[in-house]
Amino acid sequence: METHIRVRNLNAFYGKQQALKDINIEIPKKQVTVIMGPSGCGKSTLLKSLNRFLELTDDTKISGEVLVDEQDIYAGDVDVTEVRKRVGLLAQRPSPLPMSIYENVAYGMHIHRMHNDRLAYKKAVRHYLEIAGLWDEVGKRLHDPATSLSIGQQQRLCLARGLAVEPEIILGDEPTSALDPISAQNVEKRLLDLKEQYTIVIVTHTLRQAKRLADYVIYMYLGEVVEAGPAHEVFNNPQHERTRAYLEGQF
């Protein structure tokens, strides 16, 4: 197993409240890692530390290292926009940009100047809409507002938009929790297809989803990592009392 993200001695504070306590984990490359735990355990905070989103909240303090391909993304000489280009985020609720469907996918490629001519952008937009399983539904109405899509379609558009900037890692913050069951299933299926090429890290509060998706599991409680390991080991033979209690639903 090759490690893609290595978190070392990570501590995070919101004001005086400590949200992450001395986190040390290794996230494997091209697998689905699921972070789970009860509400308020710091799983979203941990996820947001991986694309430097924590610093968007006022009064947060972070110490420690997050190494992506052995490079610390919190180092002083790192360009935060490059970090976020390499580490994409699929949010809990889809947030289409105030543009057409086409422009939503092209936006990220434009700001990073990834292609040279119009045709290349067009091809790329189509390519990523196909990967997100949306092309058949929107190919004929690319210039409609993105908000005219259903919530489930919007989430797949956000996936296409995120993939279009060619990240290596995809973060998902409960990416299916706002969707209806069929859309949720659709998004889950895309994520499973994508792990061939991408490292995927998902936060979820549903155990069933964790079991369906996870290759690797991180279980958190009160800001600490209680247990981390390959999914079949953690699910079948948890080493900690707390993990066992959570898996058995004692909360």
């Binding site: 989103f53 970090v83 976020r84 947030s95 105030p98 908000t147 995120g162």
Partner: protein
């Protein structure tokens, strides 16, 4: 048991609700009375000549002509002033939200703008006049535009600021997550999303600019001719109203009301027009 009983708190509610309705009626009544006054007094004098001709000899004594000089003058002044104010306001408002936010500096800047907003426009006029004297500039369209831009700037920035601070956080974060810089978020996302509100802010400032008499009195002067360059003085509608109502001749006074009516109609057309345009541009806005 579930029957309505007139308890004290129900009476209080009925009373307060009544007060609210009364306040609304007072305000709406005032607006109605103003419109009624200028319509009744001005409409008979609102001839085709009024809007197509400049004052002819003896205009202020009741002879022929119109106020085209003031109509065009006001449009030039307020249009130029609004354009100039916009060029400065949008970057200031975006900077305030994007980089200053709720910081101490952000609060100082907002406080200064609020103070500037409250300063009477005659003070802007005198201020502009003093500077014009210092640099040897005569009363002109250019000076009027610059001073009106100064008058409009605080109202425009603060109105835009209030609009932009309602930008949905999710949307901003979605753009940041793709690796946008803050500037790209401001220019490519915030402006698009908040365009209707930004246009309203511009209109608000335009309304203040076109209706102002004191700031242009010192700086743009008044003339019966239509200016052909930025360095010439120009008339304006508020001053046209003032000069005509100040004469002892009823027919000229009536034209004063007609000029006020023209001013009101211009503001109305521009408000409705830009709302129609912004509704079209609104298509992609995330609700």
């Amino acid at each position: 048991m579930m029957k309505k009983r007139w308890q004290r708190r129900h009476l209080v509610e009925a009373f307060v609700k009544g007060l609210m309705i009364v306040s609304f009626l007072v305000v709406a009544g005032c607006l109605g009375a103003i419109l009624w006054t200028i319509l009744v007094n001005g409409f008979p004098a609102l001839t085709w000549d009024m809007v197509t001709q400049i004052p002819q000899g003896g205009f202020y004594l009741g002879k022929g002509g119109g106020v085209l000089n003031a109509i065009l003058g006001s449009l030039y002044l307020a249009g130029g002033g609004t354009l100039l104010a916009m060029i400065f306001s949008l970057p200031i408002a975006l900077y305030l939200q994007t980089y200053l936010g709720d910081s101490d500096w952000g609060r100082y800047v907002r406080l200064s703008l609020d103070v500037l907003w409250g300063i009477p426009t005659i003070v802007y006029g005198v201020f502009g006049f003093t500077i014009m004297l210092a640099i040897g500039l005569r009363a002109s369209l250019l000076a009027g535009i610059v001073v009106l831009a100064l008058v409009e700037l605080p109202i425009m920035v603060r109105a835009m600021d209030e609009v932009i601070c309602r930008m949905p956080v999710d949307l901003e974060q979605a753009a940041l997550a793709l690796g946008s810089t803050k500037l790209e978020v401001a220019v490519r996302i915030v402006i698009r999303q908040m365009l209707p509100g930004i246009i309203t802010a511009i209109l608000l400032a335009f309304g203040r600019g076109i209706g102002d008499a004191a700031a242009v009195l010192f700086t743009a002067g008044y003339t019966d001719r239509i200016p052909t360059s930025l360095m010439q003085p120009t008339a304006s509608l508020p001053l046209a109203v003032f000069f005509q109502l100040g004469t002892p001749y009823p027919i000229v006074q009536q034209r004063g009301y007609a000029s006020a009516l023209i001013l009101t109609i211009i503001v109305l057309i521009i408000s409705v027009g830009s709302r129609l345009i912004s509704a079209r541009l609104n298509k992609y806005t995330v609700k």
